[in-house]
Structures are given as structure tokens and as C-alpha cells.
Symmetry: C2
Subunit: 377 residues, 2 copies
Amino acid sequence: MKLERKDEILKYIVEEFIETAQPVGSKTLLEKYKLNCSSATIRNAMAELEKEGMLEKTHVSSGRVPSAQGYQYYLDHLDNSALMNSVDMEFQREFQEVLNSRSKSVEDVLSRSCQMLSEMTNMATVVLGPKATEELLVSLQLLRLTEKTAMFIFITDSGYVEKKTFVINNKDGVTFSALSTAIAMLSERLVGTKISELEGKAKALEPIFIQTFGRGGDVVLQAFLDALISFAKKRFQVYGQKNLLSLPEFSSDKESFLSAFDALQDPHNLEKNFAQHDDIGSNVNVAFTNDKKGDFAIVSKPLNSKDSIAIVGPKRMDYKRVLSALEYVVYMLDKYYFSTPASSSSLIPVSEVSNVEIMKENKKKPAKKVAKKGGKK
Amino acid sequence: MKLERKDEILKYIVEEFIETAQPVGSKTLLEKYKLNCSSATIRNAMAELEKEGMLEKTHVSSGRVPSAQGYQYYLDHLDNSALMNSVDMEFQREFQEVLNSRSKSVEDVLSRSCQMLSEMTNMATVVLGPKATEELLVSLQLLRLTEKTAMFIFITDSGYVEKKTFVINNKDGVTFSALSTAIAMLSERLVGTKISELEGKAKALEPIFIQTFGRGGDVVLQAFLDALISFAKKRFQVYGQKNLLSLPEFSSDKESFLSAFDALQDPHNLEKNFAQHDDIGSNVNVAFTNDKKGDFAIVSKPLNSKDSIAIVGPKRMDYKRVLSALEYVVYMLDKYYFSTPASSSSLIPVSEVSNVEIMKENKKKPAKKVAKKGGKK
DNA sequence: GGTTAGCACTCAACTTTTTGAAGTGCTATG
DNA sequence: CATAGCACTTCAAAAAGTTGAGTGCTAACC
């Protein structure tokens, strides 16, 4: 059996299955893709590919479906250099509009980017930030909201903001102004500390507090520490998870959708499947999960030094589309937001670039390589 | 036909349907509830109730299903005084634990409360805040994140925090310190302004900015205004929407779940069906929606002067359970968080109340009345 | 060796038929 | 006004039959 043809057949099967979500048969393959051989030959090739673990059958007389290994092989042999130029023009145009949109805050642009990614890929998109506990406290404030309520505001070095509102009751000398003093004191000592080390460091201040405020100081400190414990580990945003419901792999079976939904409720579970920041700027990472929580493909890429962006869906996804779209979006965001080349302009760089370039001929396409990364089996 | 019996039959039908989600027949009714009459009598009553618009049939020889009007009647005639005491003991115990939990910030307690409500009612729970645009700006800050990025932080009088990160590029004199001065200036003039009026008011400052900063000031101001425009209207949290998927009304039909999901993506659409704050502290409101977006019941109650909490699900929901749970939770939250009776204690009131009371015998049950409010038909 | 035509077999998916349970309305009677 | 009885309706689920896409294998062919 010619190796070349076998590869080709595998590729076609993967693509056909990606498109139709139906097991692929030898005849269909023959008709749709012009292979100059007969269906019997294709069947032979398929039998071999199955033996090699690239394909699977749903039942003895069904067509073939790619296995995880099959997808992996497909991904490893994708023509990456062509991907970047395959980004849909319409998408590029729309994305350009986002970059030129009125509000150019990182939050707004990122959120709209993700919505667009979700929409065009019909998958869920996740932006995953670093664990808040690994970040540094850069600001600790107290704000009076009403007569009886006050709000702590914690801000970390990557701009994560967490607020905690408390009810104050002017007893035991816990007045707003006392609180204010306490927080100023805490702020002075704790800004610059890693969140995870905050508790220990704050605890050490307890004697000072009790000395200064009496018993009330104790309570303040405890409340502060308690608030910290629930300091969100959730540094993520999920977009378009409802898209998954329209996919055949989830719509047929309620359970699987729910488990996908759950997994996306707390994507930190998926974190180990994300691209690492070590190789920032280089690769798109494709990982497959395979646990009780479900069976996903996670296509991810570091977005900047802290965050990653990922497209999450079933293994059967249009990788060409997904990889190229993600690559494109990250490239553009990086270019216009996260790096600031000398050539670019003032406060909001994009505002000056009235016509964001559209990549059609590849002049300076970024390095692109799909990295392997096996999910735990 | 005895009126009393008819009422009773309607009530049983509603409750049976709530429980089983199946059309209710005369025989079932007779067997399950001890009505001292025959099935034929029940049938006659049902025929009358149908004529009055309380019941509907799914097809000519099916059992009966309550109509919206039927539910309304049922709700109007619920024995409200008994509800408050019907809250599940286990739930009360668990809720007490939440109130006594380590972190007593309003955010944490509220979020856990809603999770509990969702879980016990198997519905979605929504906390809806006021429109951000109707609130006052109480703080406007600038924070340097990295060499190249800075973050605006807006805070409104109800403690809503919004952040916008921008990339700074030291050109045209737009340095961080210039920005800082600008924001200080803006802050001085704009704090206390209603968000919706901010834009106009800021615009008036443009000449001053241009004069002070030259062209750069212009850009800053514009960026600021643009960020405002996307200042989230979304002041809400949704919990447990995945529960809806397990309900027969949604699980059978993907479309209906999606429309429910969509409706919950932006609950401000549902806002008109929420309890009004005029009658704060008084009533639980039950409203039915009936539009293209779907068919829900919304059981809501003002939580404090700003926010409302609502349980959202299909019209077929266990109203006794839902009403009592919501009533209970809001009552407890109000008691320990939003009002601060003289009796209560220091910084975080609940921390002192080591054993939050459990209502078993009704001593001081709050005023309770179900308000009518027709959804638009 | 690789390729192909042909054939028997498998199995899921769809359609049709059958059956039974749950329900109603109506009528005559207590 | 309530009830027993009966004829009729409808849906849902099971059973039975039909179809079609797919396979593996064998024998022949280049």
C-alpha cells in the first residue's frame, strides 16, 4: 500500500468527519474526493489505518471515525504555513472593525475578540488568567458605600480587581474611620506581597492591630483575611459555551453537554492542557482531554505574559479554521496591544492606525507550528 | 357544582402537574388525593374549570394542564401564612452555615445564597442590580499596571466596579503622569455625577484638556468617554442556569433551552417582570413572561434598596418551595446584612450571632403576600 | 506485489403496524 | 347534584418490517 495514499486517505477521512460528523465510508470518500483508485482499495487502506490505531469504528459495519491518535497525526501533518493565509476575509474585516472600535480598552477588545472567535468557530472560547494567588497585591483600598456598608478593593499587578463589601456596625469602636486607619496600615505593609503570602504576613500584624484598636482590630483583620481566602481563583472568562449545544456531539446527549458546561464553569481544571507561557509567541497548542469530565480538544495560545486564550470544543472541530483564527487574533492583539513597536503611536495605538492591515499575501506571517501535547489518557 | 370542591380540584391539579409534569387525569386525581366523589364528578368539575380558562388540554382526550390563569389563581389562593414555616430544615441549617461562614462579605454570602437557592429549587437564580447608567460615580482612579499599560477604575455608589485597561505609548506627551493629572482633574469634576450624564459633562471639559495637554488631552478624554459607552449595563449575576436543562420543559427541546439561556444572558430584558423597589420589604412578586423569548415564571423580591433577587424557571415550578425559600433567604439576608437593628453587633454582624436562629415555630414571620402581576400576554 | 470487482453479511435508522393505557364526553339512573 | 357505565379518542411504546450504507473477504487481474 502506497504510504502517500494512506496519508491522504486519513486526511480526507478526518476532514470529512469534521465536516459531517458522520462515520466516513469508502464509497463516500471515493465520490467526494477524487482518488484514482477503487472503493475496495480505500477499504484496504482503512483497514490498515485502523490496525495502526488511527481510525475507529462505531460498530462492525459502520464507516470510520478518527481516533485521538488520528487527529493528532492529522494535526502534526497540517500544512501550517498555509493556515495563516486562510483566515476568512470577512472575519478579518470584522475583526479590524473591533480593533478600530470606539472603546479600545483591553477588556472590551478582548471580549469582543472572543465573541467573534466563538461565533466563527462555533466553539467556546476561554480567556484564562494567572491564578490570583500567584499575583502581587498592588492596591488595597477601602471605600464607604453607605452609612452602614464599606467595600474593600484589592487589585493585583495584572489588573485583577476584587471587591468585598461588608456591613459596618458602629460598635466596639469599629467605625469607618478606624477601619480606614487599619486599611491604610495594612496597605502600607502589604502592597507588593504575593496574594498567597498575604495571609501569613497579615497574621503577623495582629498584635499591632489589637494594640491599636483593641478587640475591634482583631475583627477587622479576621474579616480581611476571610475575604482573602475566597479571593477568587477564577481568573477567566468564557464565551459562547452555548454554541456547544448546537454540535451533534453534545446536543444528542444531555449529560455530555452538562459535563462540558461544568468543565467550562471552572476552566482552571483545564489549565494543565493550556499552552505554557514558556514558549510565548511561538506555538499554538492542541491538547485533548480524556477524563470523566468529558472529551475535549483545547486549542490554546499565550496571549501575553499572563493570559492565555483557548478555543474549547469536541475533538471533532475544524482545526484549520480554529487554528488560523486563533493564530490571527492573537497575532493581531499582540501586535496592536501587547507589544508596542517603536513605529506605533500615542495612547491607544490602534486609533492611529486607521487601516489595520489585512493579511492576504503573507509578508510577515508569524512563526507557526503546532505543538504536540498529549492529554492524559 | 360545589365551589369549594372545584377550588380544591384545581389546586390538586396544579400540584400534581407541578410534581409530575404530566397532564392530570380524573382517575389519577381520585386515587392520589382522597376526594370523596367519583371520577365522573371530577371530570365535570374539570370541564367547568376548562371553560373558565383555568385548565387546558394538550389534545382532546388528554388529561388537563393548568393554564397561566390557573397558575395565577393557584398563587392567589395559596396559604401564604403557612409558607414561611415550610422551609426545609436541612436547607435552613445549610443556610445558617453560609451566614456563619468565614468570609462574610456581601458578595460571598450573596453568591452562596444564590447557589443554594438554585440547587434547592432546581431553577436559575438571578441577582439584578440597578442599571449602572442610573448610578453615581463615586470614584475614578488611574492605576499603572506595567510600563505600557494603565487601568482606569470606575466605581459607582452601589459598589459596582468597572475597569478599563489601556496601552500607553509615550508619544505626543501622553505620559503616565500627564494621564494621572488628567484623571485627577476629571475625578474632581465628575465624582458625584450620574453615569448617564457623565458623557455630556466630560465633553464640556474638552477645551480645558486641550489647553492643558495639547492634542494628547483630547485623546485621553476621548478614550475615557469611549470606555464609558461600554460601561456595562450588565449589573447581574446568574446562577444555576444549567439546572433548567434537567427540566422536562427544556430538556426535550433544545430550542427552548437556548432561548432560556439567551434570556438569562441578559436578564435586563426580564427586568420589567421583576419586583419593583417601591414596595420593598413587602411582597414576593410572581410574573409570567409570554413572548418569543420563551415562557417563564419569574419569582422575585427586592433584596435591598438597589438589587433584586429572582428565581427563574418554567411556569411549572414548585411555588410553595420557591416562594418560601426566596422569602426565607431574603428575610435572613435583610435581617443580618441589609438592616442593622440596634441589637446586632460589630463589624460583621453575623459573626457574633454564633447561632443564627432557625425558624421552626413562627414567632416573627415577616409580612408575606403574593402580589399579582400579569406578564404581557 | 498492489488493485479491483463482486458478493454475502451486518447493523443502525427509518417506517409502519399493533397494542394498550389513560383519558374524555355523554347518558341514564339514584 | 353525583355517579356508574360505555363508546370513543389519542398518544406512546413496542414490535415488525424495510432500507441503505457500510464492511470483509475472495478470486481475478495487471
